[in-house]
Symmetry: C2
Subunit: 286 residues, 2 copies
């Protein structure tokens, strides 16, 4: 059917439905963005911790103070080592520790206050340093490890090397536990895996590099993902925080939702796209 | 049909759809709230202006600086006079001018900075005063006019007196124009009307008091509302910002949306509630 294009009530109420449908309900041909005000200034802070179980609670504590955080990223010790090995941020060498990357936005006074409070909170959770950027150059430098993390990983792949980049999300109170359990599991399977997370949202990513020409490596990588998903669902989380269902997580979706929910999704799909022609095979199938 | 109760994907994507359906798609029996962090402190500022065309642009300018505003309310000179007459905030007597009410939240440093910037912005737009609360008692006092505005109005009703409390919303850039035009229109019709607005959202309310036993007053009140709605739609706004469609604005909804949108809404309604038994007669009818 022809999806209506009005401003206002009709479409606003189905925004979430269409965006979350991953293209299975229709094609967005026109969008009106809502603009946000840019902060006057940004700053960045980088804070290494001895363990994930120090870093994640520190992140949660910062979120709970309500200080304005524009981004809050976690990278584990393996990811930090890979950034060092990749050498893209040279001559800078990073502590190979679970590390939080903060981006703050605001006025000068707000920034100074925020940085002070975050330093206090992280120090109380055994932070092993606290570097913050005093200008744009330092900001770019401190953010570079986060920025280069994916490329550093990709650079490590050998011939036939593939990477699974998968995500789940859990309540903040469970985040440290699921990260540690998933890292242990991957290590026990003998996989090359590292973790980074948008920890303010309870969302984290595991990057698994494996050799696609070896069936047992493929199998192990898939097993690691399946177990991570099951763990997230057991913790009242979700099988994907931002990467979506697509083809790869259709089974995971069935684990997460009750049959009635899947039926409801199919009912809406069949109503809006009666011939099931939109992004076929994704999310749910007939 | 049985609406599913899972956490996660299924329901999150239909949140907007169900909330915006005004009960026409089903009954919400369970909800998981997302908590927000309370600011450390609040403060309130009250700022009168010579005209609506000074007050609204001042409000818009404050929003556009991105300072954290917890509430931003406008009350017109008529509403301020009615608060004085109602006497519920005595011994306090308010300037009978279009007045902005700000509520700010944040830390001490943020509040001090915010109040300074808002004072600067409003002074540049001919503010005729700037009072801000130094403690909780002053805060309650300054907010009291906003709090008592509806009750002051209700207290004015005589026997047979009714009140229409209706709202529309328009892009911020059009807000001053529609308020002034709607006030003029109501005055030309000889109606008792006053305006208050949640001006940060481009949303405002007109309160019209009339005698329900006099058919010509009823007719005039309805005409004023219909014309205000048409004006909002002409300005790319919406026929209601927060009060909803219900019974009263079903015609207005048809003015606002294209036929295809209404058909789409009916299609969803008929799919989810095939017997049309949920909140019957509201928003759209078969």
């Amino acid at each position: 059917m022809n999806v209506p294009r009005d401003q206002g009530l009709g479409l606003e109420q189905v925004n979430g439905l269409f965006v979350g449908s991953e293209g299975t309900l229709g094609i967005v041909t026109e969008a009106t963005p809502k603009l946000a005000v840019l902060p006057k200034r940004y700053s960045v802070a980088v804070v290494p911790f001895p363990t994930i179980h120090n870093a994640v609670p520190a992140a949660t504590a910062v979120i709970r103070t309500g200080v304005p955080v524009a981004a809050l990223e976690l990278m584990d010790e393996t990811q930090m080592r890979i950034v060092n090995e990749g050498g893209m941020t040279r001559p800078r060498v990073w502590p190979e520790k679970p590390t939080l990357f903060f981006k703050f936005g605001g006025s000068n006074a707000t920034l100074a206050e925020t940085i002070g409070r975050v330093r206090q909170i992280t120090e109380a959770r055994r932070a092993e340093g606290f570097e913050f950027a005093r200008d744009d150059r330092e900001q770019a430098l401190l953010w570079s490890a986060r920025k280069e993390s994916l490329y550093s990983l990709l650079a490590l792949r050998k011939d036939g090397g593939k990477m699974l980049n998968t995500d789940v999300a859990v309540p903040l109170s469970k985040l440290a536990d699921i990260i540690v359990a998933s890292k242990k599991d991957a290590a026990a399977l003998g996989l090359n895996a590292c973790v980074k997370g948008h920890v303010g949202d309870g969302n984290f990513h595991e990057n698994i590099t494996y050799d696609a020409s070896k069936p047992d490596e493929v199998e192990k990588a898939q097993a690691a993902v399946e177990r991570m998903v099951q763990r997230a669902i057991d913790m009242e989380g979700t099988c994907t925080g931002e990467h979506g269902i697509g083809f790869g997580k259709k089974k995971a979706l069935q684990l997460e939702l009750r049959d009635e929910t899947i039926s409801f999704m199919k009912l809406l799909k069949g109503t809006i796209d009666p011939h099931w022609i939109m992004n076929p095979g994704k999310v749910v199938v007939r």
